[in-house]
């Protein structure tokens, strides 16, 4: 709190200076904007709504699992709840979260560009997202969908009586928004870097977004094809996956996971990029092993394409294919481990301050480490047989996607909040929320590891009584976690009006985005910046101060 106030400054030399927020007013100025910063805000608004919707579904799921009997909801309703929780959270929140909000806002600023390479395509990608959201909303309002977010065939093409086609089309359409964003970022990084911003001077967040964009460009089209084939089979009875029509149901799983496993890296890589930014700033040090962290992002992106078969160890895939996928899945853990070690080493002999973004980074490193290590359990053929399709898997991927990806997202949102809004958030409440989320998360999801080993299958509406104690613990953690997520929504919105004004660089961070005013002007830079230093030259900055 105090430090925040201490940093509050008068807005700048000219109080009436136009920034991207007050350069224009009215709804049209937002809906037709081609400013990457405003588009980021449009995304922020949408994904926040989606996060709330997905969170409500999650709360309902946890409520049902409080008791062994299926008593809170009908079985069909429960099945729709977890399905829609997954679809909304993955396609409409997690995948766009960091790239489309923080990436959109920061990437051009960080490389010294005035906008993305294709500003209109950037706006188009938001509209495509909105069309996908309309289909998704229709699927929900029309009665929901119950296939699980994985849409496994032949259940989704023959058996399910629910709104499969609208839901699948929602995923199909929103995928194109991802492809367009990825394309835009890749071209921007290649063509729009400021003079002197060489590849190895780029902030690691840019590297992470770049690696993510590669995956988005190359994997998402496969999802589009797969979902289209699904629609063809369900709608027109063209046999592709259904054995009764001469198809192969396991083929769907191969195609689906060829996208959806890399999609996990779409969710976690940007978060890792955020961590690299924050960990250096709040320990006032250059990152340890810049090139290792940068290349590990690319390593994850490349190897991540070759591990999809680990979702099929018990699907009837050949044992030798399983072996290969197992080995590759073990190998993809190495670049992640390298990142964790390098971040930890960065702290050594730093000047560490415990500001909110850094608290999220501590949380991220701890939870991601557990999530990553439990991933090894699932890469192990002989053990995965017992664990797959149980709550162990549910716990594992929530440690990665919630403990990892969302912690990183919130860390980044707080870190760049002064830049985005020009206001400081209340540090005291932000710290409370960060600690609250960490505790609530572990209370909710750690018991699920134990449930999984005990043998509770996932997607169970009712369950045998011996699983109840752990389920009650898990459900008990959920409200704590929920409060943790509500707090930032309240105080961040509050801060937009009442927060103290932020200086251009409240964290004394390196990076070009901090050389612009807070909030930046529409064109970001008055003149094109020239880069003469490596990223994260905190030692030089500290020397200047001394």
């Amino acid at each position: 709190m105090q430090t925040s106030h201490a940093m509050a400054e008068v807005p700048g030399p000219a109080p009436q200076a136009l920034d991207y927020l007050n350069a224009d007013y009215g709804i049209r100025s937002w809906l037709f904007t081609i400013d990457h910063k405003r588009i980021a805000i449009l995304y922020l608004l949408m994904i926040t709504i989606m996060f709330v919707v997905g969170g409500v579904f999650a709360a309902a799921v946890r409520l049902e699992l409080l008791t062994p009997q299926g008593d809170a909801f009908e079985a069909d309703t429960y099945n729709k709840l977890f399905t829609m929780h997954g679809i909304v959270m993955i396609f409409f929140f997690l995948i766009p979260s960091i790239p489309a909000v923080l990436g959109n806002f920061c990437l051009p600023l960080m490389i010294g560009a005035r906008d993305l390479a294709f500003p209109r395509i950037n706006l188009l990608s938001w509209y495509v997202y909105m069309v996908g959201a309309v289909f998704g909303t229709f699927a929900i309002v029309a009665g929901g969908v119950d296939t699980g977010w994985t849409f496994y065939t032949p259940y989704s093409t023959t058996a399910s009586q629910t709104n499969v086609i609208p839901a699948v089309l929602a995923g199909f359409i929103v995928g194109f928004s991802t492809i367009l964003t990825g394309l835009n970022f890749i071209v921007t990084v290649h063509k729009m870097r400021a003079p002197g911003m060489t590849w190895f001077r780029m902030p690691l967040f840019v590297w992470a977004i770049y690696a993510t964009s590669l995956i988005q460009m190359l994997a998402t089209p496969v999802l589009a094809i797969t979902l289209l084939l699904l629609v063809l089979e369900r709608g027109l009875h063209i046999g592709i996956f259904d054995p009764a029509l001469g198809g192969d149901p396991v083929l769907f799983q191969h195609m689906f996971w060829f996208y959806s496993h890399p999609a996990v890296y779409i969710m976690i890589l940007p978060s890792m990029g955020v961590v690299s930014e924050i960990v250096t700033c709040f320990s006032r040090k250059q990152i340890f092993g810049y090139t290792f962290v940068a290349f590990s992002s690319l390593g994850i992106a490349v190897i991540g394409f070759l591990v999809w078969g680990h979702h099929l160890f018990v699907s009837g895939q050949s044992a030798y294919a399983g072996m290969l996928f197992s080995l590759l899945s073990f190998l993809v853990a190495i670049p992640s481990a390298i990142k964790v070690f390098n971040w930890t080493a960065t702290l050594y002999k730093g000047k560490i301050s415990w500001d909110t973004p850094m608290l999220y980074v501590f949380g991220f490193i701890g939870l991601f480490t557990i999530g990553g290590l439990t991933g090894l359990f699932l890469a192990a053929l002989g053990l995965d047989v017992h664990l797959t399709d149980t709550y162990f898997v549910v716990a594992h991927f929530h440690y990665i996607m919630v403990g990892g990806a969302i912690m990183g997202y919130l860390g980044g949102l707080h870190y760049w909040w002064p830049k985005i809004t020009g206001r400081l958030y209340p540090e005291f409440w932000a710290k409370i929320a960060a600690v609250n989320i960490f505790i609530g998360f572990n209370l909710t999801f750690f018991p699920q590891f134990l449930l999984g080993y005990l043998g509770m299958p996932r997607r169970y509406h009712a369950y045998p009584e011996e699983f109840q104690v752990l389920n009650v613990l898990s459900t008990g953690g959920a409200p704590v976690l929920g409060v943790g997520y509500l707090l930032p929504m309240v105080y961040l919105i509050w801060s937009m009006r009442y927060g103290p004004r932020a200086s251009a660089n409240p964290w004394r961070a390196t990076g070009l985005e901090w050389t612009t005013p807070s909030p930046p002007t529409t064109h970001n830079f008055e003149e094109v910046p020239v880069v003469t230093q490596d990223a994260y030259d905190y030692p030089a900055m500290e020397k200047k101060v001394a």
Binding site: M7, M323, S326, I334, K351, I370, L376, G382, R458, W507
Partner: protein, 338 residues
Amino acid sequence: MSKLLFFLPEQASSVAGPVDLFFFFMVAVSVFFSALIAVLLVFFAIRYHQSGAATAPAAGVVVGPEPEHAHAQGAMLLEIVWTVIPLGLVLVMFAWSTSLYFTLVRPPADAVAMYAVGKQWMWKFQHPEGQREINELHVPLGQAVKLTMSSEDVIHSFFVPAFRVKQDVVPGRYTQVWFRPTRVGRYHLFCAEYCGTQHSGMIGWVEVMKPEDYQAWLSGAAGGAPRQTLAQAGEQLFTERACVTCHPESGEGRGPSLGGLPGAAVTLEGGGTVVADDGYLRESILNPAAKIVAGFQPLMPTFQGQLSEEQLVQLLAYIKSLGVKPAAEAPAPPATKD
């Protein structure tokens, strides 16, 4: 008694112990690395804490000379160490878990063949002696059981936590799972692959019995012994559906003789060979034109949609019971012959 820890399911099969052992190894490695990172994180965060270092520059802090280059070599060494050690560890994990997996998926030679069919939302089992069960499977203690499984509708998954085995049950093909029960008792059977409304109701029990109790159960403790064994039921079908006219035991029919076929290599029309496993036999009944045996005409009609999964299994059992032509040696008991 068998519950060592509250989150450990009972160990009731020959593989449960080895799987748990590997699990504990993984837990140990994970705890070590999580603790290492956590301790370092907390220690550094406290030891080097400097409140407001990012927001308000502390006056008069003297920063020493740039340490980066002086320690470049040490840094490289660290990078190598924390790449190579995890790499070595994951390779150990890979080797161990893969050998475990091959134990899990390769049924031993003495395994008894039983059959399972999954459908929304129940499990149906058939014993070689002809008993049929729904949502319950009785098996003898110590006897390896090989389940050949198929589905009538969507994908299901056969999961017995106490046995540490799981295998998806996929429509249109056979999948296999095997286990050797090592403890008498009733154990949960779950469907582990989401299959619709009553997915969580598609559960049952595997009941492991002492061999003598199992024999008593087989011979009618539960409502009388069945009229026919599985193979006999298959033989009856074989006659009723007129399979026998083209596939007579004499081997002189329009179709190839089936005696001694299962497990043998079959030469196909147009070159190539195929091993006559369950999947091949299934395909040859449902879609006979897919693979034609060398020297024969594609005359056989399809039986797709005309045989239930259970009937298919009966036919398979019958074909497996046929001796090598023409009765050169006494056929082995159908149960163990495979």
